[in-house]
Amino acid sequence: MAKDQALTPKARIAQRIRSQSTHGQFVTVKELTEAPFTFTEEAALANLEAMAADEKYMDIQWISGQKAKYLYSNQTMTDNYARLHVHVKEQNLVAMVAEAVRHDSSVYPRVTSVKAFRYSPYNLEQELLDDVLKKIQESDEFQDIQVITASTGAKYLYSNQFLEPRRANALVELREVVDDE
C-alpha cells in the first residue's frame, strides 16, 4: 500500500494543500474530486468542514476570488501571498496591481516600482502592463493610485491614501538616485 494511502482522508487533503502551497499553488474542491483523489464534492466539503474544527489543520485556509474559492495552507503560503495569488490566478490584473500598490504604500510604506510587475509571480509583458496602468488611471475605483516618474526615468506607483505626494517623490529619488550605489 502506498504510504500516503495509509493516511486519513483529512490528512491526505491537508498534505496536498500544504505541498501545493509550498509551490505557490491553490487547491480547489474540484481538484479533490479528481485523481488521485476519489472524493465526491460533498465528501470533500464534509472533510474540509471537519478539518476546520480540528487543531491539526488550523493552517488550512479558504480564500475567495471572483471566480472560485481556493484552499491554501498558511504554514507554507503566507496570507499576504495568498491574497496576491488570487488575482494572479484569476488574471484580475487591474485589482492585482492596485492592491499591491496600496499594500506597499500602507504597510512598508514604500513606492512600488512598475518594473516589479514584470517579474514572478506577476510576469506581465510590458504591453499588457501598460494597458493595466491605463485602466487603473481611468478607473474611478483606483483614483488614489498615482504614477511618479523618477529623474532617472523609472516609473513608480503609490497610493495617495497612504503616502503624501512629497514623501512618495522623496522615496522614489532615494531609491533611484541616492541609494543607487
Partner: protein, 702 residues
C-alpha cells in the same frame, strides 16, 4: 606553551629596511581582539604623529582575528591599517575579503606588521614559519593579475596573494591592494608601493585551534545559518514568494523562479530558496542582476566570494565582447566594484544609453573593472568619477591641463561612449602621467589643486560628505537620518560601516523594524522611517554607537560587516529578530574565553576609542567637533522650501546635528564639548597610558 585558541598566537614583523623578520606573541595585543584592533594598537605605540603615509616610519598592518580560518560564516576578511594618503595622513583602514585572510591564519599568523622601506622592489613569501623577502624586480611594473600569477607560479597555485598594481607602485594616493582577482582594499596601495613591497604570497597548512568542541561549533553554526539572510542580511525576497510574508524589490535576496546563472553550463535556476533550505543559501543572491540589471543574467557564470561565506556576493561574469577592447572576457566584482568602473564613462555608452542596464553598459563596465583592478586604482567610494565629471563638465580640465596634454586625450572616445577611452584614463592616472593624473590624488587635493567651485563642496550631486577630509557619503543621513550622519562623521575616510544600512535595508516593514529597534536600542524611536525624520534622541545615539562598535568588532574578529551583525532574520516565528549575541557566543566557543555580548562590545569600544585618540593625536587638536566632525552644507540645505523633520525630505538641521554629536559623544564617554576621549573614558577602557600620552601633549579635554 599552552596552545592558543582562536588566535594563532604569533605576529609577524617584517622590517624591509633592515631585512629582519621577527616573531612576537599575540597575547600582548588580545585586549584589542585582532585585525583592526591590533592595527590601531601598533600604530599608537609605534608610529609618531607627524609621520606621512609614504614615510618609511609609517607602518602597514595586515590583520586577521580569532574567527578567521575557523569557518564561521563570512569570517575571511583582512583588515589593513595604516595612514591614509588621501585623507590628511590620518589613521585608516582598508579591507579585503577573498581567501588571503584564512590562508594567513593557516600559515600560523594573526597579523603582519610591515615597517621600513626596501631598497629595491620585493615581495614577501610566507609558507607557515618560513618567511622570506624575495626580489620583485621581475614583477614590478606588472598589473595585479600578472603579479598574482607570477607569485603563484613560484609558490604554487594554492598560494593566496595580496598585490598592488602600477598605481600602488607609483604611490598614487588612490590605490588598492587586491587579492583573489576581485577583493580589493582601497586606500593603502600607495603605502605598499612606498615600501617597495609589491606583493605578499601566503600558503599555510597549520590548524586553527578552538576552545570548544566540534559538536558545539556545528550547533552554533547551524543556528547562525538558520538566521542568516542574503547579502547585507536582507531577509525578504525581492519578489513575492509563497513562503514570504514580505518582499522588497531592492532586496539582495534576488533568487526567484525563472532567474538563472544564465552562463553556467547547464544554466542554474536560483528558484524559490525558502529560508529553511540550507542547500540553497548560496543561490539567494544573484548579485549580477542586482548590480547590472536583467541584462547580466545571461552573462553570469556563477556567484563567487570569500572563504567561509555561504552567501557569495561577487558576480562572476563572462562577456566575450570585452576582448574587443583588449581585456579579459571574465570579470568578477560586487557593488561599487562595478558601479565605479561603469561611471567613469561620463557620457554613457556606445548605444547612447547612460546608467546601467544595457549590453553596451555591461561591456564598458567589464572593461573598466578589469582595468581598474589590474592597474590597481582606488575610487574613494566612487568619488573619483564624480571628481572627473565635475572637472570635465565644468570645463576645468581644459583650463588646468597643458594644451598639448589636453589635446592628446581622446575625448571623442569618451563622448562616443567607446570603452577604448578607459585605457587612457587608467594608464594616465595610475602612472602619474601628466596633470590629468592628479585625479588620483584624492578629492580634497584635486579639488583644491584645480580650484573646484564652492558648489563641489556644498551640492548634493557631488556627495562630498566631509569637505575637510574629502570623503563621500557612504550610507550617511539618507540612511536613518542622524544615525547614518553620525556614523559618517566618525572615521577618517568614507565610513565602511554597514550595520545600520543592513538593518534599514532588510526589506521588513517599518513597524517590524521599529519593534526590533526597540529591543536592541531601547526604543522604537531609535529608527525613523525613510524621508520622515524626527529630531535627535538618545536611542538614535545608541543605534549609531552600536553600529560603529559592531563594525569595529567585525573588522577585528574578523567578520564581514556586509552580513553581520545578524540583527534580523527571515523568520516570522521569531518576529524577524536575529541574534545579536552570536558574535559573543562564537567568541566564547572559539577562544575559550567566556564573554557576554556587552563585554565583547566593550572591547570593540576600546578599539574605536583608540581610533579617536589616534585621530586627536595626529590632528593635534581635541576639537573634533569643529575640526573633524564636519558635514557638508548639502545635508542641511537641500529642499530649500521644506523644513527639516517634515515628511518628504531627508534634510537635516544644523542645530539638531550638534545635539546629535553631543549625545553620541556622551554615549561613547567622550567629552561632550569637543568629542575627544576623556581620561575617565580611557581609564574605563584600560587605556590610562593613552590618557597619559595625550595629557603630556596637551590633548586631553579639560
Amino acid at each position: 606553551m599552552a596552545t592558543s585558541k582562536g588566535w594563532s598566537g604569533k605576529i609577524l614583523r617584517v622590517n624591509l629596511t633592515t631585512e629582519t623578520i621577527t616573531t612576537e606573541d599575540t597575547a600582548k595585543y588580545t585586549d584589542f581582539i585582532g585585525g583592526m584592533g591590533f592595527g590601531y594598537k601598533v600604530m599608537w605605540d609605534e608610529v609618531p604623529e607627524g609621520t606621512k603615509s609614504y614615510d618609511p616610519e609609517n607602518k602597514i598592518i595586515f590583520g586577521v582575528g580569532p574567527f578567521t580560518g575557523t569557518g564561521i560564516p563570512c569570517s575571511s576578511r583582512t583588515n589593513i591599517t595604516s595612514l591614509m594618503p588621501t585623507h590628511n595622513h590620518l589613521i585608516g583602514d582598508s579591507h579585503m575579503g577573498g581567501h588571503f585572510a584564512a590562508e594567513l591564519k593557516y600559515a600560523g599568523w594573526d597579523s603582519i606588521i610591515v615597517e621600513g622601506k626596501a631598497s629595491s622592489p620585493v615581495w614577501l613569501r610566507i609558507e607557515n614559519d618560513s618567511v622570506t623577502i624575495e626580489d620583485a624586480s621581475r614583477i614590478w611594473g606588472q598589473g595585479t593579475v600578472q603579479s598574482t600569477a607570477d607569485v603563484c607560479s613560484i609558490m604554487g597555485a594554492e598560494a593566496h596573494v595580496a598585490a598592488i598594481g602600477p598605481a600602488g607602485e607609483n604611490m598614487v594616493n588612490q590605490a588598492i591592494i587586491i587579492t583573489g582577482g576581485s577583493h580589493s582594499a582601497g586606500g593603502h596601495g600607495g603605502v605598499m608601493g612606498s615600501k617597495n613591497l609589491k606583493a605578499i604570497g601566503v600558503k599555510g597548512t597549520l590548524p586553527v585551534y578552538m576552545g570548544g568542541t566540534k559538536e558545539a561549533l556545528i550547533d552554533l553554526d547551524r543556528h547562525a545559518m538558520s538566521i542568516i539572510g542574503s547579502n547585507n542580511q536582507h531577509v525578504v525576497p525581492s519578489t513575492p514568494m509563497p513562503w514570504a510574508e514580505y518582499h522588497h524589490n531592492r532586496s539582495r535576496w534576488t533568487a526567484r523562479p525563472g532567474l538563472f546563472w544564465g552562463n553556467a553550463n547547464p544554466p542554474v535556476e536560483t528558484g524559490e530558496c525558502p529560508p529553511e533550505d540550507m542547500n540553497s543559501v548560496g543561490l539567494r543572491c544573484q548579485k549580477g542582476v542586482f548590480d547590472h540589471g536583467d541584462i547580466a543574467e545571461d552573462y553570469t557564470t556563477r556567484m563567487g566570494g570569500c572563504q567561509s561565506c555561504p552567501i557569495r556576493c561577487h558576480s562572476q561574469l563572462e562577456v566575450p565582447e570585452a576582448e574587443e577592447y583588449g581585456v579579459s572576457r571574465f570579470a568578477a566584482n560586487t557593488c561599487v566594484g562595478w558601479s565605479f568602473p561603469r561611471s567613469i564613462m561620463l557620457k554613457g555608452y556606445k548605444d547612447g544609453s547612460t546608467g546601467r542596464g544595457t549590453k553596451e553598459a555591461l561591456i564598458a563596465t567589464v572593461v573598466s573593472s578589469n582595468l581598474a583592478d589590474d592597474w590597481g586604482l582606488w575610487c574613494n567610494y566612487n568619488q573619483i568619477s564624480r571628481d572627473f565629471r565635475y572637472a570635465y563638465d565644468n570645463g576645468i580640465l581644459e583650463k588646468v591641463l597643458p594644451a598639448e596634454e589636453y589635446n592628446s586625450i581622446p575625448w571623442d572616445l569618451l563622448e562616443a561612449g567607446d570603452p577604448n577611452f578607459l585605457h587612457e584614463f587608467y594608464r594616465r592616472v595610475s602612472t602619474k602621467e601628466g596633470e590629468f593624473s592628479h585625479l588620483g590624488d584624492g578629492s580634497f587635493s584635486v579639488s583644491k589643486r584645480w580650484n573646484f567651485g564652492d558648489d563641489y563642496y556644498s551640492a548634493a550631486t557631488w556627495r562630498l560628505f566631509n569637505p575637510v577630509l574629502g570623503f563621500p557619503q557612504h550610507h550617511s543621513s539618507e540612511t536613518a537620518g542622524q544615525v547614518g550622519a553620525l556614523i559618517n562623521l566618525m572615521f577618517n575616510r568614507d565610513a565602511q560601516c554597514h550595520s545600520h544600512v543592513n538593518f534599514t535595508g532588510s526589506g521588513l516593514p517599518i513597524e517590524v523594524q521599529k519593534e526590533i529597534a526597540g529591543e536592541i536600542w531601547g526604543s522604537p524611536d531609535a529608527l525613523d522611517a525613510p524621508a520622515d525624520y524626527t529630531r535627535m534622541n538618545p536611542y538614535k545615539a545608541n543605534f549609531a554607537k552600536y553600529s560603529i562598535v559592531r563594525n569595529v568588532l567585525h573588522d577585528s574578529l574578523t567578520l564581514c560587516n556586509w552580513m553581520w551583525p545578524l540583527q534580523v532574520s527571515p523568520h516570522k516565528e521569531r518576529n524577524y529578530l536575529g541574534d545579536t549575541a552570536l558574535e559573543a557566543k562564537f567568541f566564547s566557543l572559539i577562544t575559550g574565553i567566556e564573554k557576554t555580548e556587552a563585554e565583547l562590545d566593550l572591547d570593540a569600544e576600546r578599539i574605536f576609542t583608540l581610533h579617536r585618540a589616534l585621530t586627536v593625536k595626529q590632528m593635534g587638536t581635541t576639537d573634533m567637533r569643529n575640526k573633524h566632525d564636519v558635514i557638508a552644507d548639502y545635508v542641511f540645505d537641500r529642499d530649500p522650501d521644506v523644513e527639516p523633520f517634515t515628511s518628504g525630505t531627508i534634510k537635516m538641521e544644523r542645530e539638531d546635528m550638534e545635539v546629535a554629536k553631543t549625545m553620541f559623544y556622551e554615549a561613547m564617554g567622550w567629552d561632550a564639548d569637543t568629542g575627544a576621549p576623556t581620561r575617565a573614558c580611557l581609564e574605563r577602557l584600560g587605556m590610562g597610558y593613552v590618557a597619559d600620552e595625550l595629557e603630556a601633549k596637551g590633548l586631553l579635554p579639560a
